[in-house]
Amino acid sequence: MTCTLSHPAQQKLLEGYVGFANLPNQVYRKSVKRGFEFTLMVVGESGLGKSTLINSLFLTDLYSPEYPGPSHRIKKTVQVEQCKVLVKEGGVQLLLTIVDTPGFGDAVDNSNCWQPVIDHIDSKFEDYLNSESRVNRRQMPDNRVHCCLYFIAPSGHGLKPLDIEFMKRLHEKVNIVPLIAKADTMTPEECQQFKKQIMREITEHKIKIYEFPETDDEEENKVVKKIKDRLPLAVVGSNTIIVVNEKRVRGRQYPWGVAEVENGEHCDFTILRNMLIRTHMQDLKDVTNNVHYENYRSRKLAAVTYNGVDNNKNKGPMTKPDTSEGMSPLAQMEEERREHVAKMKKMEMEMEQVFEMKVKEKIQKLRDSEQELQRRHEQMKKNLEAQHKELEEKRRQHEEEKNTWESQQRLLEQQKLDASRTLEKNKKKKIF
């Protein structure tokens, strides 16, 4: 006999130091030991400074003469390129994967140029799903794309149709962080206008870009609000270090001055770096795991369970609750089995009924024809008997007639004989 856990939790106050407050430290230690992974995808037309930004973000030459960035290679089609680097800082190890999409938006006809990107993201989800569903599971590497930086060209006017199309197709598969590239080509006022326009268009098209989560902390919320006001972030990247006021900074040297990458008044690069790396990296991973991946997974499993494409067509990412979505595919099979058993029972009953009925019919028919034949037989019998009787009657009559006539004849004969005898006698008498 066991009890199941279905009771409410009671609040208890501790009367002294217990020690489980140390749990977070234990978690900290273990996570450092395990190391971290992060996959960042950069999407945008060639020449928007994607590789430069990556180098600036991670303060390292990810793309260098030995490992040239995608922009330095000649491509004819959209590619998806992945490059893994291991970086360490303060005892924390990070396996960073950068996914680049050279050729995106560069062709004359860019229809479906987002498809390779979607396919890549889906294939990573699929890999994770398969390794999660194995019978023997080991440490599962997380290669899912956690964040997608989308580079918007600094036209100053608004989003291009390609931008809108891409974001609409990917906002439910990956966290999208839209960035305005090469922000040093716009004045602050132009930038403000541009940002407003972009956000308007994003809202208009119902595009869901990555949202910063609300926290209980007042201070943090203030910071988050400030970031939200400056979306999309306008960034500048640089591979060169310039000396400004005796300080070594990353920047772009112009005849009229230096645009500093890490200067908050020049661009939003610092905000991006802080948000992406220092405060929200974990959240990006969590949202990928809890929302985007789960969407993919439930869609995939629902399709498998119903064994058809129909299911995929009808259901969108977040669908209304259905009995099937509350169960695992196996539980679903159980349910189907039960349904089938009920169906079979019903079928059996129906067949039995039909069968009984037909049998009854046939037996009834048989009985009817038996009766009919019996009746006919009776009739014939009666007929024959009647005929017999008739015949008998005739015979009797005939016999009677015969007897009467014969006796009459005999009488007549007798009479005749008598008469002839008398005559004879008379004759004899006469003679004498």
Binding site: Q11, K12, N22, Q82, N112, R297, P329, Q332, L391
Partner: protein
């Protein structure tokens, strides 16, 4: 040329790079920790031991709080598990603690099945988690994890050796849960007896192949303390919430005429060691082991039982889709087969009955054929008789006619004669 052709170039070589400055991802562990703290933690303790051995008291002492509990009686029919959940908070850490008590353990006369409810309970928690994990729409990140993270096995302080019930139960549990054996009511054993007792217990566990939980020694931060604690197993504990004045402090203790046993005095008992190991140092490892080892083992066995495999006979790895599809095909085939069977059965039944009825029909016809023949014969008889009669009648009629003709003649003759005679007379 449309930009749809894909050329995926994957650079699988992982390079190590030096950073040119402070990037800032060293805050990742902090980000992770702050998220977990916001979410809160779950911890589930299972206490296995005889009635009255001090399980509830130890829990109270360990968590410095009075968990309301009525005393259990000795007259339970069987063993049943009583889980109770509490929400605790210490500084900013929220802990959802579930304490599962085994009521009635060791009280029955026949203790053969005593371990069963415990094993079933542990398996049920695994099963619930597995079901949630396999759902199509699942929410694992706010799932209340009820899997048992630690089983404290209370050994009675006999001073001699383990009871057979202890060995049997621990053997059944060691592959399903982390076990820490503890000697209860340790204030009834003297130091030298205790030392011998501990050695005896550990050797019995080893010789019976019981796997108890070993404090992990890979992490340099805790290697030293863990390995030294491993040597002190099983912990001899004393529990008490009563406070006694010792010196100028109030300490938790048990007051005896011959002295005071202080719970938190390390030379009196191992309570502090237990608390240290269980709560302050290895709590996270216990949770991890439960998830990564015990749960995975359960899951693997369950899936294999259901026929899932990772590779097909040609050692090609199955994708999840393939596995489910294969299962589904099998399942549908099975259902179809059943349907076919039933149909077939009916077809046979129908055939049988048809044959029967046909037979009956045939008999009926035969019967009536027979009757018909009888009728025909009778009819013929009748016909014959009729003809006979007719012949007779004809014969008779002829006779009659003949006779009448004769009579007519003779009448004529006789009348002639009479006339003649009359004439003669005249």
């Amino acid at each position: 040329m449309a930009a749809t052709d894909v050329d995926t170039f994957v650079n699988d070589v992982t390079r190590s790079l030096e950073l040119g400055g402070h990037v800032g991802f060293d805050s990742l562990p902090d980000q992770l920790v702050s998220k977990s703290v916001t979410q809160g933690f779950c911890f589930n303790i299972l206490c296995v031991g005889e009635t009255g051995i001090g399980k509830s008291t130890l829990m109270n002492t360990l968590f410095n709080t009075l968990f309301e509990d009525e005393e259990a009686s000795h007259y339970q029919n069987g063993v049943y598990l009583r889980p109770k959940t509490y929400d605790l908070k210490e500084s900013n850490v929220q802990l959802k603690l579930t304490v599962v008590d085994t009521v009635g353990f060791g009280d029955q006369i026949n203790k053969d099945e005593s371990y069963k409810p415990i094993v079933d309970y542990i398996d049920n928690q695994f099963e619930t988690y597995l079901q949630e994990e396999m759902k199509i729409k699942r929410s694992l990140y706010n799932y209340h994890d009820t899997r048992i993270h630690i089983c404290l096995y209370f050994i009675a302080p006999t001073g001699h050796s383990l009871k057979s019930l202890d060995l049997v139960t621990m053997k059944k549990l060691d592959s399903k849960v982390n076990i820490i054996p503890i000697i209860a009511k340790a204030d009834t054993i003297s130091k030298s007896e205790l030392h011998k007792f501990k050695i005896k217990i550990m050797s019995e566990l080893v010789s019976n192949g019981v796997q108890i939980y070993q404090f992990p020694t890979e992490d340099e931060a805790v290697t030293e303390i863990n390995s030294s604690m491993n040597a002190h197993l099983p912990f001899a504990v004393v529990g008490s919430l009563e406070e006694v004045k010792v010196g100028n402090k109030m300490v938790k203790a048990r007051l005896y005429p011959w002295g005071t046993v202080q719970v938190e005095n390390e030379s009196h008992c191992d309570f502090v060691k237990l608390r240290e190991m269980l709560l302050r140092v290895n709590m996270e490892d216990l949770r991890e082991q439960t998830h990564a080892r015990h749960y995975e083992l359960y899951r693997r066995c369950k899936l294999e039982e259901m026929g899932f495999k990772d590779t097909d006979p040609d050692s090609q790895p199955f994708s999840l889709q393939e596995t489910y599809e294969a299962k589904r095909k099998e399942f549908l085939g099975d259902l179809q087969h059943k349907e076919e069977e039933m149909r077939q059965m009916f077809v046979n039944k129908v055939k049988e009955t048809e044959a029967e009825l046909k037979e009956k029909e045939r008999e009926l016809h035969e019967r009536f054929e027979q009757l018909k023949r009888m009728h025909q014969e009778e009819k013929r008889n009748l016909e014959e008789k009729r003809r006979d009669l007719e012949e007779e009648m004809n014969a008779f009629n002829r006779r009659k006619v003949a006779a009448e003709t004769l009579m007519g003649q003779s009448m004529q003759g006789s009348s002639q004669q009479i006339r003649k005679d009359k004439e003669k007379k005249n």
